[in-house]
Structure formats: structure tokens, C-alpha cells
Amino acid sequence: MTFLGYERPNGSVGARNHVLVLPPGIIADQICHFVRGTKTVMSADSGSGRTRNDRATIARTWVGLGCNPNVASVIIHGASLGGAYPELRADTLADRIARTGKRVETLHVEGDDTLDAISEGIRRARAMVHEASKLRRRPFSDACLSLGVKCGASDTTSGIAGNPVIGYVFDKLVQAGGTAFFGETTEIIGAEHLLAKRGVDDTVAHAIVDAARRVDEKAKATGQDIRTINPVPANIAGGLTTLEEKSLGAIHKSGSMPIQGVLQYSERPTGRGLYFVDNWMTMTSIFMGYAAAGAQLVLFQLGGGGLMSDAIFYTSGGVVAPLLWTTANQKTRDRAGWLLDVYSGTVIEGTETISEVGERLYHTILDVASGTMTKSETLTRITPNQVYTQEPMF
């Protein structure tokens, strides 16, 4: 099957055609306020006071977003607080992104005057957006697509219908030659043995079990029952009783294909197929990580039965990757259906099968990849994101 995308110099194919401005901060913000067609990240984390590993993660995330096929060209400014660390220097970031062959410009201004940097950035961003607009979409195979998924505010409809429908889509995409990411290491605890069986080799199987064990050990070190943390209150209010129950439902979103590898947050895979990402569940982090790993589109499979409000819908977590919402909970659909992209609760109602809804979702994904907006994409608001760092701050 095909979608209409933008071809990049390295052969990757974008579902969008953004100009990205990084690192986060006032300069990037103001350029993006002024120039349509631009994107940036809203984050307070510059990398300052972070360990080498955490700085490497931050750098990998900014570089990954720049390399994402949805990005036509990139501006990197040199005025970030963390920008004096070697791995976060503007030139270093720009060089790494430029390997994709796309246009990358660094913004250094005489005397490092912030207002001068903003005005110069606006001039360049306008030129880059104008240039990008000359590109035309052409048909490409769905094998060029990468998807990332998170299940959230999960309830018992998630494991029974919502996640299995995502799993159907993942299987179909992987069989077509595409790439799919799932993760949320806390939410494989109790189900890791089932995922390990699907590792392509023993190394992958062990890496999956090890990832779950590390989180289990961290949980034990807190001295708290993990159920007072995760499953989160919305999960419990939606009928999920233990972390194991949540995990056993959550892994259905991975489908049934072999798992090619275990990736770190925002790490780009070396091949195609299905990957487990050792990441953290929060929507302010996970979607940006998938986008940095190359996903052109990210999916949020919502339970929602235990949610206190619909504020969760007003997010832009994927930064350059559109966010598509699904739910299988009829009460969530009745309450907030106009904010959602695909409803899969018909599986529970018995009026559609998992494969029927899965086909519907797959076509929606190809439509979105071809330019149709997701519901959340119609918002101008940019929500804060956080890079998933794991080491102490100093």
C-alpha cells in the first residue's frame, strides 16, 4: 500500500514538511512564533548540570528530531545554556543532522545578542519554509513508514480491544517492510517473559528481560508498593488492578511479529521491523523519543475510563510527528469522541472484529501520512516535553 510523502535527500520519506528550530529556549520559541511551518521543542532542560550519558541522550534527541523525515530543514542556534558541552555544541549537532543531506544552518550572531539572533533566525526560517513549500508529495510504499505507540490512561478496554487493534496495525506494517516502536518498560513487568519469546535471538530476549528487571529493582529500592505509583490512579479507576494486569494488556499493542532489538530512548534502529524501546511511559517524553528515532507518526491508544478530565487530549508530544488518538472505551468516545481519531470499542460491542477495525485504522494512518491532519494536530499550542534522562543532576 502507498501514501503520499515528501522524499528527503537520504531516501527517507516525510509525512510532513516542517522546518525545525533547536535547541529549546527563547530564540527557537520566538522564531517559531513568527514563522509558520516551523516547529521547536518546549523544554527547560538544556543539558546543563547533566552527566555525559544524559547529555548524550539529549544530543541524540535533538539530532534525531532534526533527522526525522518529517523535517525538511533545520536551524540550530548557539545560545543554549548547555551548548558549551562538546556533544551539545551547535556545530556538533548541525554536523550530525547534515549527514542526512538536508539543509542545516547554524545561527551564531556577533556579540551573542539574543534579539539579533531571533531576527536573523526569522529571516533564515522564512527562506527555509519558502524553499520547503516547493516540494511536492509523491506516492511511496508504506514500507517507508515508522510508527511509535503509547497506551495511556489505560483501562480494561485497552488490553481487550484498543491495544490488539494497534497490534494488528503493527503486524501489517512490519509485514509490509515498515518499522514500529513500542516501549514503556514499567508496563512490561509481569509480561516480559511473553515478549522475550519473540526476540529474534537470545541477546534480544535477554535485553528485554533485563530492562524489566532493572525497573523492577528500581521500584523495590523505593520501598513503596509500585501500585501506589503505577498503575496510575486513572488505571485503577478504569478497572486495572495490578501492574501485571496492565502489562499483560499493554503488550498487545506490539502485535505478534518478532522483536528485532531493544533500543534506548530516541535511538535510531539500524534495520526495519518491530523494536522494543526501553523508555518511560509519560506522553511528554515518549512521543518525542519515537520521533527522534524516526517515527513519522505516533499513536496514543487511550483507555480513559478512569480519567478525571479531557485535558490529556491537548498535547503535541510528537513535536514533528503528528499524534493520532484511538480508544476502545465507549464512555471515553461518548465524552470526548470529537477529540479522537479512531474508535475501536466496536470490538467489545461485537459489531466489528479486531482485523476490521485494524484495517480502518491502517487506512487512517496512510491518510494522515499523506497529509490529512490528526485531531490534535489542529491545535497551535505546544506542550512541554522532557527528554528521558536517567542519571542524577549535579
Binding site: I160, G190, K220, A221, Q224, T242, E244, L248, I348, E349
Partner: protein
């Protein structure tokens, strides 16, 4: 086994033959007969308390510490005896993983 369907019967889903709980797919009131379906196989259970949409009902009596199965896998153990037809949730089931509270108890002097 022939089971008479009537207006008060409610739906629930059993996800694996090994499971001892089912997920109700509509709000259930005490006294309702729940037809818990494992594919086409229907198992009746009478609710002994109200069970909201999406919550779990016990398909058998469970002794304290008995494993609770869903998806054919253990999701925890009964923290107290659970009657057939009762709501199964955090008040009568505890998880076995990520139990920092127990780890602390073990290492306490």
C-alpha cells in the same frame, strides 16, 4: 449446557480458558446474571455485588493467596477470600511485582 438468556443477563469477556476472572462489558448490578463468554462458550455467574463497566468479576471462589489469572497469566493473588460473582479489584487482589513495600519489610532490622 443450555442457559436461558433473559433481559437481566449481562455480558462479560473471558480472555483465556485458564482465567478465573472475566471483564464485564456493561454496568452490572447485584443479582444480575452475567453471561461470561470465552469465545462462543458462555458461562453464567450471578453478581453478588455491583460491578461497573470494565471491572472484573470472579468466576469461581478464590481462597486467600490464590493466584488470579487473566489473559491466561497471573495478574496477582487474592489478598482475602473472594466469592464467585464478586468484584475483583485492589481491595481483594495484590500484585506480586515491584513490591518495594515488601522489599523494605524483608530488609528491616
Amino acid at each position: 449446557m443450555y442457559v436461558r438468556m433473559n433481559m437481566t443477563s449481562k455480558r462479560a469477556l473471558i480472555l483465556n480458558a485458564k482465567d478465573n476472572v472475566a471483564t464485564v462489558t456493561e454496568d452490572v448490578e447485584v443479582g444480575d446474571v452475567i453471561m461470561a463468554a470465552l469465545e462462543r462458550d458462555l458461562r453464567p455467574v450471578t453478581a453478588v455485588e455491583n460491578i461497573p463497566f470494565g471491572f472484573k468479576v470472579a468466576l469461581t471462589n478464590l481462597a486467600k493467596d490464590a493466584p488470579v489469572y487473566k489473559y491466561g497469566e497471573p495478574i496477582g493473588k487474592a489478598s482475602q477470600p473472594i466469592r464467585k460473582g464478586a468484584l475483583v479489584h485492589i481491595h481483594n487482589v495484590e500484585g506480586l511485582r515491584g513490591r518495594g513495600d515488601l522489599a523494605r519489610a524483608e530488609t528491616a532490622p
